[in-house]
Symmetry: C2
Subunit: 355 residues, 2 copies
């Protein structure tokens, strides 16, 4: 454990992509879809060996603080940082940087999405430890890039440049989610890595980069930092922050970034179809959870949460079927992202009880 | 109305093909899937102009008598004939023939399945009236054959022979459900009709035919008829009756049968997929009933019964999705018959609450 190291878990999910299990009041990071623990609990436990519980911070929107404190009851109550409203990751990480700096001027941040999956936890921890050491020693922006197994089109990528030392590369560029042929090319080339969304830097360095690349945000953060009543200032000023991701706002523009390739089995659990890649499938490639019966079904994900109706599926392939007590979703597996279409329709109809 | 005419509604359904809506205690004929009335109520109302309520009989298994009396409360209580246990249609119609004969030695039976759909009720009634008149005047076995619209493989067919008078043909033969090419040939030939399962004959004639073609059944029926305590005799002897349909046991063997072609829009409502043929579909060919949202879906049947979960479907074609409070079914539309696979699995697991 490193006393200057702070885990910063970003927990901003809205509860759309895993509808109907995820809801406004029960976003993805609170779901127990991969194990008996919630995704955020798994995430936190994976990094206690870096920053420890005392220095594990969770940044989320104000209305989720209560539920997250309850879920991560091992963490000190004042380690939950509330965004006055949901912005994107750049403002959110900026807010966390202020808290880290307040606690420790030498603080190093380990920025982690709350809702990812990792297969080899020890390998993950080894990789993160070396990234923390780099961020601290060289005061650079560091990221982890995942070596791709297959030509995934749902992830952003980064291209690595020259090797600068053992297991560490320059970042040549960040690139958006590719189309199929491009993803195949990236995989074949061998020098592209999945953008993991994990970042490592000193809090001071992050704020310096914000001043250079996002001066508007930097000004707001400086005002909050200088205020005698930071919470009030944040409430007044944070809503004016630009809604921009740290990837787009800082990482794609900053120089001297280094990447540590990771190879520990990783998935961003972006939609129901991810369960087919993560959970052990049956002989027909199905993942079936809860009270379900499948007959002549293949390549499907079928989930009935405890207390939800029984599900029987017959003679269909490559679908996702999910039931809760009050809602059922049926979607083609390769279009699982489009669950949003149903959530939007429910929103338009003001069916808040289902959102 | 004809005072010798008796409607005999056969209500023996088990509740498998429309699972999860149909259950052991709520078989298909009690479902309100085509209108606000149950299928059996629709069936009964279509024929009151023939036999009247006083002479409308319902034959069913003993355990369903209570529910059917409640559903058809306009009928006299003693018009419900209980089979001691479910046999096939030949014994069941034989039992009804005894009751008709007891009431009226000249009684003519209109035998109707409880759970079919008819589009043109007036045309249906006209056709049935002429069939009743033929059965009475010529004392023959009469059936109605439906002029096929398309090469259905889910129905039995009959081939008509020579025209014997206006709108009446000899029956050349009954044939089983055909495969696709055969059904196409039947449709092109023009002399094949769908076997509607509707039959017309005097009770006496039916019992005569049973003596010729099903002597074992005829003996049991004669014993019940001669008994001082017919109910006890039925309980003792009926379980030994052969489990054979009237089609197979009598119609395929008897001679001199006549068929009246019908053209009134008819469907045997054999599985969930029938809803796609009966209910008016939306522009994408979907039938959606209850609290459902479809996005980029075509050719599908989606039903959420009142009180069941909301259903959202995205990006799938040609499926059936049905939700009740406690169960969800997802099946490919062209395999809707295979819902039985799920019902069998639930039976094997003794999940009686879902059966």
């Amino acid at each position: 454990m490193d006393k200057h190291c702070f885990n910063v878990i970003i927990a901003g999910g809205k509860g759309t992509r895993f509808w109907p299990l995820s809801r406004a009041q029960r976003p993805k990071q609170l779901l127990k879809i991969l194990s008996r623990k919630s995704l955020i609990d798994e995430t936190a436990e994976r990094v206690y060996s870096l920053g420890g519980r005392e220095r594990t911070l969770v940044v989320t929107v104000a209305e989720q603080v209560g539920a997250l404190r309850k879920e991560l009851s091992a963490l000190p109550k004042n380690n939950f940082i509330a965004e006055p409203l949901g912005k994107n990751t750049a403002p959110c990480i900026g807010l966390a940087a202020l808290e880290v700096l307040r606690r420790d001027p030498k603080g190093v941040m380990v920025v982690l999405p709350a809702d990812h999956w990792v297969a080899d936890v020890k390998g993950f921890q080894r990789t993160l430890k070396s990234a923390v050491a780099l961020a601290k020693k060289h005061d650079r922006l560091i990221t982890i890039g995942i070596r791709p197994d297959y030509p995934e089109t749902g992830y952003g990528y980064l291209q690595r440049g020259e090797l600068v030392r053992d297991g560490v590369y320059r970042v040549a560029r960040f690139v958006e989610k590719p189309d199929g042929p491009t993803a195949h090319r990236y995989l074949a080339g061998g020098d592209y890595l999945w953008n993991s969304g994990m970042f490592f830097f000193t809090a001071r360095r992050l704020l310096d980069e914000a001043r250079t690349h996002m001066p508007e945000l930097a000004t707001i953060l400086a005002e909050i930092r200088a205020s005698a009543d930071p919470a009030s200032t944040a409430n007044a000023r944070y809503p004016g922050a630009p809604k921009i991701s740290i990837d787009y706002g800082i990482m794609e523009k900053a120089t001297g970034i280094r990447v540590v390739p990771g190879d520990f089995g990783w998935n961003d659990v972006g939609s129901w179809s991810a369960l087919a890649d993560i959970r052990e499938p049956d002989g027909a490639g199905n993942v079936a959870l809860g009270d379900v019966v499948l007959r002549q079904v293949s390549g499907s994900v079928v989930v009935s949460e405890p207390g939800a109706p029984f599900i029987g599926v017959v003679g269909v392939d490559d679908v996702v079927v999910v039931a809760t007590r009050d809602a059922v979703l049926v979607v083609r597996k390769d279009r699982a992202q489009e669950v949003r279409a149903v959530v939007d329709a429910l929103g338009a109809a003001k069916r808040n009880e289902l959102l």
